[in-house]
Symmetry: C2
Subunit: 349 residues, 2 copies
Amino acid sequence: MTLPPDPAPAERPERQRLQMADIARIAGVSVATVSRALNGSQEVSAATRQRISELARSLNYTINAGAKNLRLRHNKTVAVVIPFDQQARLHVSDPFFLSMLGSLADALTDQGYDMLVSRVDADQLENAARAWDTGAALGVILIGQWHSHAQINAMSDRGVPLVVWGAQVPLQRYCSVGGDNVAGGLMATRHLIERGCRRIVFIGDPTTPEAAQRLRGHQQALLDAGLPHDPALQLHSSFDTGQARVALSRLIESGTVFDAVFACSDVLAMAVMQTLRLHDREVPRDVAVVGYDDIEWASHADPPLTTVRQPVAHAGAEIVHALLDSVAGEIVPPRTLAVELVVRRSSLR
Amino acid sequence: MTLPPDPAPAERPERQRLQMADIARIAGVSVATVSRALNGSQEVSAATRQRISELARSLNYTINAGAKNLRLRHNKTVAVVIPFDQQARLHVSDPFFLSMLGSLADALTDQGYDMLVSRVDADQLENAARAWDTGAALGVILIGQWHSHAQINAMSDRGVPLVVWGAQVPLQRYCSVGGDNVAGGLMATRHLIERGCRRIVFIGDPTTPEAAQRLRGHQQALLDAGLPHDPALQLHSSFDTGQARVALSRLIESGTVFDAVFACSDVLAMAVMQTLRLHDREVPRDVAVVGYDDIEWASHADPPLTTVRQPVAHAGAEIVHALLDSVAGEIVPPRTLAVELVVRRSSLR
DNA sequence: CTGAAAGCGCTAACAA
DNA sequence: TTGTTAGCGCTTTCAG
């Protein structure tokens, strides 16, 4: 009337891993005592606690997290999902996202949480909650909101604890943490104007909230300086550098005059600089260039790239914090982090 | 004599997530039936199976993975650990490692596995097995072996299912999957020699197994061509570009003559090209440069970088395969993957 | 201070 | 075909 599913002693799938009962037996105590000892309970005598801890350590025994979580009805892992846009071809490979991942890993590790990473097609963002639905993670961090605003709202409404790195947008019912994109765009363009640039190309994909805000800042800076906004100078390009190259080449070939480019990411800026060189435009003499993100490569570029620095290291901690709070049931307001203009040679003319 | 730890109905930590019992109640069947239905058992009538599946889907219910794993005594997540060397300052941020991560994510997802990512200090690599010890993961993938050969052997001896991306070295008791570093070094240097280079600088850290093998290939190529091996041309630099810059600058300032550089990574090669430019050496006219990895940036560099391509996409699948096999108890032999020289402008003189 | 026993959410004999 | 029930590895009341 039971189910000893281990009749043949040769059939066990993944034995060898010891469990609490094993070390209890070896130590000659009950599992309850081992549990208490390993969890540092004061109820157990210091001596046995010590003895059991050492035994466990020497045997490389660690409490089975799954069972513990099940019993305690909680868990210590958070899901980080990288939306992966087929079209934009922006995979995990953008250095900015990579560094974000690193930053999150650090913040999570600091707090004793594990990080479950997955990529999900940006068109099916509802899959992002899978790790939560299955109980594998206590919450979800989304890197970038892309075009999925509505789906994210839906997940949030369903009660999925959720924080997204991205822009703060109207009607958002989830917590976002992001850089101050409007200020970033403003700073970048204002700087260019101060360096004497008058016809500044903007390149990015304003259908994403972040780029849209950067564009807004850009336009504001033009307005502030009394400069006209020429639509011909606004180049649409997703984060894919191929598009950027084509768009910029076309612009140059069309004979349109411009003396600066503000790109929505450093990767884009790199493509811009290469394209300019291809067309014998020298940076910064002929065209000043400003990027966005301040990835490590930016300072080593040739010429070193002026860019808007996103507070990546800080962001990781901030995001994790927000998620943990929202798991605890708090209503966490969106947060906008200050960004900073880092001036290097690419914009000095 | 029991433990209803939910006396106050307002105290429950993270309720709201439904469980099998809930949907069983709603569907008016037993949990066993739900379980069977959701697992696609043939024992349950097609009608109820359908009904229950739809109910679950509409309620966003998903089987709790932790409980299922506990009961089934297995799990579907693998740990990917990125050794993180304080000294080499090589974090997750090297694009090569990033793309490796992406490749693993894809391969794992394809097979229905989750990916738990952690960084561990390369000096305390024994922590890499934590996810396995706690039962959180069924195996561990290590990206790079660095200097921790012995510790990896130890983990493997302990029975931790383990695959490392890296070089195949003598006395290794774990499975490694890696590019053919000797061949890579050979191809790179032979190519340089064919282009007429005679004094070729090698830059890398030969205390890591991978770089050591690339150096071996490099030396072999020199030997094959009857060229002398000048120790002065062998520059030690970890993957940190700062070291590379300093070392190369010194070499130049010392007046040592050279006409090519073979760098152990593309990131290093980038630093090399910048340093050369700083010293008014033109690439490839004055100095030909070959890198290693073929990260995305390489083809967009200025000039585009000749490099040894590592089969990243393929590697992810290969590694996952090896790990799964070794979890299944097979003895998986190390595997060396073919690499390929991609000739671009940086070496054409 | 320690042990016995119940049960976290699930699966699979076994019985009906 | 479906329900009943035991138990995966752990924590924690309650009794000793």
